[in-house]
Every structure is written in C-alpha cells, then in structure tokens.
C-alpha cells in the first residue's frame, strides 16, 4: 500500500507540473527563509556558550545610583581592584580575570606591521575561557609579562603560518614580546573576541594609570568563575554595599551577571535586565515561522482547491473499503514527499544564499553538514511542515461524501461567509502587508535619522588615530599637511567627532541646584582648531586661540549646555570644571555626537592636550584620491612604524545605524519573500478557481460579456479577500510599528500615506497575479469549455 501510494503521489506530481512547481518552489523558499533565520537564531543563541565553564562564568557589573539609591545606569565596566577584592572576600569565586576592551594595537616583525584587535588580560583569562590551543600551554602562556597569544588567523597575517611558537613580535612599537601560544580562531559569536592577548602586567608597565588601585573609575571588564554549587542570586545579595565598604564615596552596587546572558539580555533599566538582542531574535524567529506558515498555507490551499481532480479517487477508494485513516495517511504521505523535495531544494538554495546572508548581516554562519544538531533542526522542520501543511487537506479531502464526490457535484459554500481557505488567504496577505508596512517604516526612520542635521560638515572630514610619533611630532605633521595643501584644517581631540566616548558630571555654575550635579555632560578635550576643522557653527564668542595664553584653561559650551545651566551671558562666565575654575570663551550650536536617534545631551569642550584622534578636513579643491594619497605619504613619513588608517567621518556615522539597517534589510528581504510566496499561492488558487468557473465564463461570454467584465467578475472574489486582509493588517501594522518607533527618542512620524502606499502596493501586486489567470480564462473559446458537457 505504501509503495503504491508513493508511486501515485509521484505520478500526481509529474502530471500537475505547475501545481507541483508552485508548491515545491513556494515551500522551498519558505523553508530556506526559515532555515536561514533559524540558523541565525541558533547563532545568536549560542553566544558565549562554547566554553566548558560557560554556565559558571559571570561578569561583575555595576549599578550606578543616585543619592536615594535609585539605579541610574548599569555599566559593564568595573574597577581594576574589583577582582582582587572579590577573590579575597568570597571563597565561592574560584578564579577570575580582568580584561581591557578590545583595541587595535600595532604589532610588527621584520616584514610586517599591522594592527590586531587586542586585549590586556590576567593570566587566568585562559582558565576562564578554555580556548583550543594549537600550540603552547594554557596554564603558562600568559605568565611571562612579555608574552603574547595569537589566534591562528593573526599568526598567519603576521608570519604567514601558525607554527610560530617563541617568535618575536614588536608590540605598539614599544616592547618585544614572545609568542607563547597560538589558539584556533574564536567563533564570531563570542562577546570577548580578540586577535591577540597580552598580559595585564605589560599593560601596567606600558601605562601609568592602570597601576593605581582605584575604586573611583570603571574601565575594565571583570570576569569571574563561581563555584559550581554557588547560587548567583544569593551571592548577589551578599554584594549589596560591597563597594561602599571599600570606598565610602561610592554610590553604586556591584553584581554578577551570567556571561551566557550578556549578549541576548544585555539591556538594563533600573538595574533590571529588560532584554536586549533577544527581542530582535524573537522577531526573527517569529518571521521565520510566519514565512513558513505562508508557504504551508499555499500547500493547504492548493491541495484543497485541487479537490475536483481528487474527488473521484477518494469516492472510489471509499467504496473499495478504504477507511478514513487510509486516506488521511495517503494524503499525509503526499504532503511529506512534497516537503521532503522542498527541503532538499532549500538546502541547495541555502548553500548559495548563506554567504550573501552572512555578508548582509556581517556575521559568520556556516551550515555544518556533519553537525547532527543541524539535521535534527531540519528533521523537526520537515515533520512540522509536513504535518501542518498536510493535515488540513488530509482531513478535508478524506471527509468527502462518496456520492457527491463521484457525481462531481461537490459544492463549495457560496455567499458572504468565508471558507477556511479564504481565511487562510487573508492570514497570508495580512502577514505580508504588515511586513511591507514595517519595511517602509524602518526605511523612513533610517532616512529621518540620516537627514537629521549633524551640526557639523562631514564632507571631506577624515580622522586618523593619534598614536606613536604623532604625539611628539603633532605640530610637524600639522605644518607639513597644511603646506601640502592636501588638508585645509586639522585638530586633535580626545575622541572621534562621530562617536560619544566620554561624559562628565558635577560641573559647577552660578545658580545651580544640588540635583544639577548629576547631569551628564558630553565631554571632548581638544587644543586648537576643533570648531574650525569640523565646521561647527559658533553662536557666541570664539574658538580656542593660541594668541590667548589663558585659553589653555578655557571651555566651550554647546547651546544645550547653556540652556541646561540657564546662563544669561555665557561668554566670559566662569564654571567649576574638575575642581578648577574655567572661563567660557565660546558657545556653539549643538552637534549630534551620540546615536542620532537620541536626544542631544549638553556638551563641554575643554582645552587639554589629551588626544586619541586627529581630525582633518581635506582640501575640496583637490581630488579625494590625491588628497588621501598625500596625507598617507606624509603620515607614513612622520610616523613610519604604524600603518596609516584614514577613516571618513561619513562612514563612521553610517555604521551607527547598523542595527536599524540590518532590521530594515531583513524586513525588506523577508517581506518580499513573503509576498512572493503569497502571490505564488494566489496564482495557483486563482487558476483552480477559474478552471472551476470556466463553464460559467463561457456561458456569460455567449450571452455577450466582454473580456473586461469577465475579468472583473473572476477577480472580484480575490480582491475582496485582499481588502479584508488590508483592513485587518493595517491597524496591527500601525500598532507594531508605533511601538517600534517608541524605542527611539527622535523618531519619524507614522503618516497615513505610508499605509495607503502599502495597501496600494499589495492590491496592485495581487491584481496582476490574478489577472494572469483571469485573462486567460476570459479569452478562451466558449466552444472548448462547453463541448465536454
């Protein structure tokens, strides 16, 4: 029986090629989207779970509080003394390690000089994370202060091979290090990624500030491994007041947060985790299921719509003694065969689309054919899809009455009531409409943010890291660059103009309240020409100027800062800044420093020779490539040991919108796929429906109906469904997108044209799809249809 059913199913597929193609194609697209998004979700889900100890590793995090003990902000960085204090007082802390953030550091050997993402860490870092060592001993690799651990890729970049134990590397042009271990490349879904590791002792040897034990500044990641039996909730209770015990001025509490939750649940409000990337992940999983459902609905619709052809078979089989179970299992088998074919096809599609998908999202997902988990995933999807898609047709078809099915007089409900099949179409299109509306909204928000005036001119504005000899030879560089006429202005600053990296509070001014001490001001240190180079608009006063010696203790305030301080005559006013009085020499128009979708914070620009970044404006009279070439050669000449790295501010700003862009791309991509699959279904459905009504069409034609009238007649029932879908979907889309926009402080408005556009788009697409069939039907020769009766 199984064999025969299988044969019949395959014969049916070959007989109805269009139907089979629509079904398999649609399902394959649905399954591919589903698999892609599932792989992505698995990737995100697997963040930081690769390590043996993952479940017992925690990061010490800090809740910063106000006077009343309310949490203002939760930060991931803690003090350099935190780890030792924790280890000493709590035996549950088995071991731990500090790590700096990952920065690009210069490494060089005789042939190569390049920059690697690098962290300074304590030796136990290699105990916390059990990396796969290609060579070297994890227990000793970081014991010598002048040692360095490389990933395989980093080793290949520098030496061209991974067999590089005990080789020498010049680090930051300051010290020679010995390679003590090479580890396999880290999976990209790790929070604490790097290309090379160097020792904390080296960090302290090269720099002054980390040496000082300090409870006052939060700069480092502290990772600890807790005893397997320890309960983190009760452990955290013990940490209440821990910081204040060591540092009476502290308004903060430290707590341990699981490493495995850091990535997905990393957003905090009032000291409580409120989600994070998990929200996006849930969205993707929802999207995956939604698209698969659309494809399943196609299958159900087409299978039930093709009943005319199958009715006889069902009737005859029943008179031969087939039970309903026999028939259900036959139709289920057919559904599983189709799903299986679709899944095979989708694996092929996946193979081709995965690299594009990775590129689009900037991630590295591989479909590992040897990994049983992947096959389990596919098997689960196969069974679920086969079952969902097959169940309704199987029960619907097997329930036919024998006599009706043999007489071909199966009547479908008429009138205004919706059949189940029509409901499915409505569901499909509602989903597609929501996705389109979402795509348009996201696009509009990105445009809105992009078009927000930055307050400075990014045209030809570039920056380079301030490093190596550029510190001592800054003025030489400046003179050379300006005289080359490649740049027209340049400046140094403590941070990039494109990215917020520092805030300060506890400024003092006349007439302030006690609570004003808690206002965070954005802060940049610079010397001369910052305003000029960035082309920021001055509202009052002037930029720092070398002619005024007193400017070395002066301040610039943003317009917002003046408003916050409520200063009547800001220029010339005196402000308490880091415990000293400073005069304000100028007020500038607000600039966008943080994420452009956030409200602008007040800003101070202070004169200080603390610098990480050199910013310059290229000469607009020269071509871009010429200027960049000149700048590169001059920098190389002044600072020969470092590779030249010129960043355009435009690009840096662009990257701030990455999350929204990814969301937009995904919504766009999967929205289009959803519509495509829905339309495939609509196409199939309309072809069945018109085939059923061909006699009616022929008679009407004989009676004098025009092609246009017939097309309207045939399309009406489908257009009605699309209208219902629009009516249902638009309010949902409005609600969802309104909620999404609420997450931005500065946001675009949801305008009515957006929804009208969505509705029109869907209508046009679906009418075109239906017309294909209705036109053919309306053009048929009535004789062909009627002679068979």
């Amino acid at each position: 029986m199984f064999k025969l059913n299988l044969k019949i199913a395959l014969r049916n597929l070959f007989k109805n090629k269009v139907y089979a193609a629509i079904n398999i194609g649609g399902l394959a697209v649905g399954l591919t989207s589903c698999l892609l998004l599932m792989l992505y979700a698995t990737y995100e889900w697997g963040y930081d779970k690769q390590f043996k100890n993952s479940n017992h590793i925690y990061q010490a995090m800090i809740n910063l509080q106000d006077k009343n003990g309310n949490v203002i902000r939760t930060i991931e960085q803690s003090q350099n003394v935190m780890l030792d204090a924790l280890k000493q007082e709590f035996p549950d802390v088995s071991y731990g390690a500090r790590s700096t953030s990952s920065y690009k550091r210069l490494v060089a050997n005789d042939e190569q000089s390049l920059k690697l993402q690098s962290r300074y860490v304590d030796p136990d870092f290699l105990k916390v994370f059990d990396y796969e060592f290609i060579s070297g001993n994890p227990a000793k690799a970081l014991n010598d202060p002048n040692s360095i651990v490389l990933t395989a890729t980093a080793a290949k970049k520098i030496f061209g091979k991974t067999d590089v134990l005990n080789e020498k590397i010049r680090f930051e042009n300051q010290v020679d290090l010995k390679v003590t271990a090479v580890i396999k490349d880290l999976p990209s879904n790790t929070t604490f990624g790097f290309e090379s590791l160097t020792t904390w002792t080296l960090y302290e040897n090269l720099n002054e500030w980390p040496k000082q034990p300090s409870w006052g500044s939060h700069d480092y990641h502290t990772l600890v491994k807790l005893d397997e039996k320890a309960d983190v909730a009760s452990f955290n209770l013990k940490l209440k007041g821990f910081v204040r015990k060591h540092f009476a001025n502290a308004n903060e509490d430290v707590f341990l947060y699981p490493l495995t939750k850091l990535h997905l649940y990393g957003a905090f409000v009032n000291g409580q985790s409120t989600g994070g990337n998990i929200n996006q992940m849930r969205l993707f999983v929802g999207l995956a299921i939604g698209i698969l459902l659309i494809a399943c609905i196609n299958f159900m619709n087409l299978a039930t719509a093709s009943t005319q052809g199958r009715a006889k078979e069902i009737g005859v089989k029943k008179t031969m003694g087939a039970t309903r179970t026999n028939l259900v299992s036959q139709f289920m088998l057919e559904s599983f065969i189709l799903t299986l074919l679709s899944i095979l096809l989708s694996i092929i599609i996946l193979e081709f689309t995965l690299p594009l998908f990775n590129q689009l999202l900037g991630i590295e997902i591989v479909f590992d054919y040897l990994n049983p988990i992947n096959w389990t995933l596919i098997l689960v999807v196969l069974i679920l899809t086969g079952f969902v898609a097959g169940s309704y047709p199987a029960f619907y078809l097997s329930g036919f009455n024998v006599i009706q099915s043999l007489k071909k007089s199966l009547n479908f409900k008429k009138g205004y009531a919706l059949t189940f099949r029509q409901v499915l179409v409505v569901v499909q299109f509602s989903f597609s409409i929501i996705l389109i509306a979402a795509t348009i909204t996201i696009y509009k928000q990105i445009q809105f943010v992009k078009n927000t005036p930055l307050g400075y001119d990014t045209n030809g504005l570039v920056e380079i890291p301030h490093e190596g000899l550029l510190y001592s030879k800054f003025n030489v560089l400046k003179t050379k660059l300006l005289s080359s006429r490649a740049v027209i202005s340049m400046t140094q600053s403590s941070g990039s103009i494109s990215n917020k990296n520092s805030t300060i509070r506890a400024l003092g001014w006349d007439g302030m309240n006690e609570s004003d001490k808690l206002i965070d001001f954005d802060q940049i240190y610079t010397t001369y020409d910052f305003i000029k180079t960035a082309n920021i608009k001055l509202i009052a006063g002037r930029d720092f100027n070398e002619k005024f010696a007193s400017d070395s203790a002066a301040l610039l305030l943003s317009k917002k800062a003046v408003e916050v301080m409520d200063l009547k005559n800001p220029v010339g006013a005196s402000i308490l800044y880091q415990g000293a009085k400073r005069n304000i020499v100028g007020v500038f128009e607000d600039i966008v420093w943080d994420n452009p979708s956030k409200n602008t914070a007040p800003m101070v620009i202070a004169f200080a020779d603390i610098s990480d970044v050199i910013t310059m404006r290229l000469n607009p009279e020269k071509s871009l490539s010429e200027s960049v070439g000149l700048v590169t050669s001059i920098i190389k000449e002044v600072n020969p040991n470092f590779p030249v790295e010129i960043n355009f501010i435009d690009n840096l700003n662009e990257s701030k919108l990455k999350n929204e862009r990814v969301l937009g791309t995904l919504a766009n991509l999967f929205g289009c796929l959803a519509i495509f699959v829905s339309c495939l279904g609509l196409f199939g459905l309309s072809s069945f429906s018109t085939a059923q009504r061909i006699k009616e069409v022929s008679i009407r034609k004989i009676l004098g109906a025009s092609v246009g009238e017939l097309m309207t007649l045939l399309s009406a029932s489908f257009v009605k469904l699309i209208f219902i879908a629009i009516v249902i979907a638009l309010p949902i889309a409005y609600y969802v997108m309104n909620n999404w926009l609420q997450t931005f402080e500065l946001r675009t408005a949801l305008s009515w044209w957006l929804f009208v556009l969505t509705a029109l788009l869907i209508l046009v697409i679906s009418v075109i799809t239906i017309s294909w069939q209705t036109y053919r039907a309306a053009k048929t020769n009535p004789v062909d249809a009627l002679k068979y009766e």
């Binding site: 039970t323 006599i403 043999l406």
Partner: protein, 226 residues
C-alpha cells in the same frame, strides 16, 4: 441476503417533504440477478445507493446478510465493502493515476491480502478478462468497454458476494454493452454472485432473472424473467 422494510427517503425543504422513495419493501436472495428499471428521477439510483450503504434511508429497516445496516458502525460498513460488496459505475471511475493492474490491486490492499496472493489473483483475473497485455496501461489509454471491464475486474477481484452496478453499460456502444452483460450473466450463473443493476434498457434487463420497476419512488412492478 437483502431485506428492505418500508424504506423511505425524502428531503425536507421549508417544511415541504419531497419524497424520493416511499414504502419500499422487498427482499433479494443470494444468487439473484436483479435489474432496477424506471424513468429518470424515479429513485432507482437512490435505491441502489441505499443498498450500497452510500446513502442512508430517512426511515425504514435494512438488513444485509441478517445484520441491521442502520445500526452499523462505520467500521463494520467498511468491512462489508472490503469483503462482500463490489461497485461498478456508469462512468467506470477508475483511478487515472493508476495502471490497470494497480487499479485492480487497490481493493486487495485495503483487504490486507498478502503480496503473493495479490499477484496471483490479479494475474488470474487479467487472464480471465484477456487483458494481460494491457496491465501496464493507464485508464485513458483504454476504450470505454475496456475501462468498464477493468472496473468489473476491480469489483470482482475482492471476491464479493454482491455486485452493485449503476447503469454499467450506459456509456458504452451496443456491442461492448452486450459483452459486459454476458459477463454479468456468466458471473451470476457460474459463480453464484448476486448482481443488482440499475438500467434504462429493456434489453439489458432481460439478462437478469428479476425486474423491479420503480416509478415516483414506489415499486410498481416486481416480475420474474423467464
């Protein structure tokens, strides 16, 4: 074999009953060859459907081989289909996606007959109907008469005790029709299979040994053919 007592069938529409069958009482014995005749719309097919348990009477008693059909469960009815009843249709109703051999095999599959026996039974019946050469053809490759032969072969292969045929020759030319009717007569006489056919043709009715004439849902005549 079949006992009908006071069978009624009507459809109620807005309080008005429209009768299809009224007071049908009759009995059919094992080995009879009964032809049901009557004008269009008289209720012949409905009667055959009720006999074949494809439709339920609105009222009345129906005993098949001593068992009350109206009280029967779905499962028991299916068992009757598998073991005792064979259907032959005017439009043949072969399954288009199956070959001749597969069409004939299908009822055996539902009867759960082992593979070897299935093969020999199919071979037997193909041989008997002279259709061995056609066993791998699909229905649309056969003439109407050949299709109906397959239809009968399919009904016979499960070795039923009764064959219900709804105008079995209605779509056939007269030469082919004669062939089919001869076959029915032979099956009835040689294998003692009960045959019940609905027919319009006086000539076909003469093949059987009893004719029931129905008019307006009522049995008008019940005559034995000499």
């Amino acid at each position: 074999m079949i006992e009908l007592k006071n069978i009624e069938k009507y459809y109620a529409n807005k309080g008005v009953k429209s009768y299809i069958l009224r007071h049908v009482t009759t009995s059919i014995k094992q080995g009879e060859f009964v032809s049901i005749m009557g004008p269009s719309g008289a209720g012949k097919s409905t009667l055959l459907n009720i006999l074949g348990m494809l439709e339920e009477p609105t009222y009345g008693e129906y005993h098949f081989m001593g068992e009350d059909v109206t009280a029967m469960k779905e499962r028991q009815r299916i068992e009757l289909y598998r073991n005792h009843i064979g259907f032959v249709f005017q439009a043949y109703h072969l399954i288009d996606e199956m070959t001749v051999a597969e069409n004939i095999e299908a009822p055996l599959l539902y009867k759960k007959i082992p593979g070897a026996e299935r093969k020999s039974r199919i071979a037997d019946i193909l041989d008997r109907f002279n259709m061995v050469a056609k066993k791998d053809l699909f229905p649309n490759q056969l003439s109407g008469g050949q299709q109906q032969l397959v239809g009968i072969a399919r009904a016979l292969v499960a070795q039923p005790s009764i064959i219900l045929a709804d105008e079995p020759t209605g779509n056939l030319q007269s030469a082919q029709a004669e062939q089919i009717m001869d076959l029915f007569k032979k099956l009835n006489q040689e294998e003692n299979i009960t045959i019940l056919q609905v027919t319009h043709s006086e000539k076909n009715a003469q093949y059987g040994n009893r004719i029931l004439t129905i008019e307006d849902g009522v049995i008008k005549e019940d005559v034995t053919v000499k």
